[in-house]
Amino acid sequence: MKNTPSLVYTLLLVALIAAPFVGAYPVFVMKLMCFALFASAFNLLLGYTGLLSFGHAAFFGGSAYVAAHAMKVWGLTPELGLLTGTAVGALLGWVFGLLAIRRQGIYFAMITLALAQMVFFIALQAKFTGGEDGLQGVPRGRLFGVIDLRNDLTMYYVVLAVVVAAFLLIARTTRSPFGQVLKGIKENEPRALSLGYDVGRYKLLAFVISAALSGLAGSLKTLVLGFATLSDVHWSASGQVILMTLVGGLGTLSGPLAGASVVVLLENKIGELGHLLARLTTIDWFNALGESVTMVTGLIFVVCVLAFRRGITGEVITVVQKLRSLSNAK
């Protein structure tokens, strides 16, 4: 029983390695993995430090633009492109963090939202971002100048390796002494302060790590799909990553993975789901479900906040613990 989590992760990894051979569409799974990484990076901040950033679209989308520019115009190799994107995420995160940690609670969320909106307007108006069209036709190139990434299967395993490495880094961070201090700040900030921890610095560092990894996720998505667009810097992308984390389970390692899968699948397949429901229930209205993604997303937010705050992973953990205490009682 004790090894259940590692067993689950091993199974997940095996499933991901095998996925392209059992009929999964590689590009879709890659996109899914990018969002899973984005949500995990976001959860490091919200779930483990208790800071609600409403500006993560700026890191995800901003880095995507810079990485796209670096690979397309400067002709950088993919690994350097990803590094550039990550560095941009870290830098933006540092600036946002410095400003936002000056205020607490709800103001923190509003400040990050406003700063991200500024990045959105810059992306809309600046020359290099291509305005409404975004940056298109970004070449995948050759990894280290050798491995050709134009093959989807090669690309797939590169993405898998990067995402797994980043995920392990996040897992390691949450278990490190640093991660323990972050949890302490989340539980009781004044106490952490009175114990002599420089709370501001810890928050800032957590913010920078989270932003850098979000930048990595954004750059990776650009590399896979070959474009960077305004929708990645729009505030709705920040809302989306909050939703993924919330649905999956705040402050759990695997929660964001589950949440990202559910949200991405839902947004891509909601039209089909609507048609299926329409056939099953013979209610015509469901056929139009594909056009009501916004409303469905809103509904999930409301339901999650009111009745489902533990998220998928949180609920599973609770059930498992209950079963365990029952079997121990016998």
Binding site: L52, F54, Q117, V302
Partner: protein
């Protein structure tokens, strides 16, 4: 608008941008006032404020288009309808999350925003709906040094009127005293026999009715569309960060002031007009982290 980027601006162009800034500032003032009143008592940041502003404007348009109800009637009816919607929302949804962390209030109202905007979007699409200026306020008055568009003057006057009325009620009347006391210590106020849950419900209703009132005022000057509140709410958030939510008068003044700054930026450097409010926010955060009128809890 805002495209005359000339070094020697005629005075009238400057004045008309100033007036336009005041018009936007009036909307900012009413919206940030509503946010501050709601946050004071409910501890919830109402993300849906922009969507409810939009609802006020679209209801105004619907009133005229489907039922032939004129502007003046909608000026009362739309805030009433949206206020009622707010009362229901508070009773059915918001009520359950007061004991939780602040962030859940933001997330719940974000969900509400998506539901409202999504619903209006599936009905009216994203293109704008035109709403004509009411006849009584059409045209402009010649002031000698400039032409003053009557409708814009009315928006500023009506907004200032409603803002100061709200300020007066909250700061100078007995009802306002209950409200302020409820903000400080709801349990104690309840112990004195005042129905605090009812007060909370009505406050939310009133706050969102304010947003709808601004929406009605905006219908003839900003293009009515289901997405009209989306970017506005973020600007209003930045204004709330700049002003701080501790003071009613502070929210009003900050809103007006930033509208004017935005208007003047349109004259000097139009490209920056969409970001200037955020830049001001950054500067204020660096110099006075608690905000201009900040009394942070």
């Amino acid at each position: 608008m805002g495209l005359f980027n000339l070094p020697n601006l005629p005075l009238s162009a400057l004045l008309s941008q100033l007036l336009l800034g005041l018009v936007n500032g009036s909307f900012y003032a009413i919206l940030s006032l509503g946010l501050a009143v709601i946050f004071g008592l409910l501890n919830v940041i109402n993300f849906a404020h922009g969507a409810l502003f939009m609802m006020g404007a679209v209801l105004t348009w619907m009133g005229l288009t489907y039922f032939n109800i004129n502007y003046w009637a909608m000026l009362v009816l739309a805030p009433l309808a949206v206020g009622l919607f707010g009362v229901l929302t508070e009773r059915l949804l918001l009520r359950w999350i007061y004991k939780l962390d602040h962030l859940y209030g933001l997330l719940l109202t974000l969900g509400l925003t998506l539901l409202i905007e999504g619903a209006f979007r599936s009905a009216y699409g994203v293109s704008g709906l035109t709403y004509d200026t009411p006849d009584a306020l059409a045209g402009a008055t010649d002031l000698g040094f400039m032409f003053l568009p009557n409708y814009r003057a009315w928006v500023v006057a009506a907004s200032l009127g409603i803002c100061f009325a709200t300020w007066f009620v909250i700061e100078k009347t007995r009802l306002g005293a209950y409200l302020r006391a409820g903000t400080e210590n709801p349990r104690l106020v309840e112990a004195f026999g005042i129905n605090v849950p009812l007060m909370v419900t009505l406050t939310y209703g009133f706050g969102v009715a304010l947003a709808a009132f601004a929406g009605v005022l905006a219908a003839p000057v900003i293009q009515v569309s289901p997405l009209m509140g989306q970017n506005l709410i973020i600007v209003v958030f930045a204004i709330v960060v700049i002003g701080g939510m501790g003071s009613i008068m502070g929210a009003i003044l900050t809103g007006l002031g930033l509208g004017v700054i935005e208007g003047l930026t349109k004259v000097v450097y139009p490209e920056a007009s969409s970001t200037v409010v955020f830049v001001v926010m950054v500067i204020v955060l660096l110099i006075r982290p608690a905000g201009l009128f900040g009394k942070e809890k």
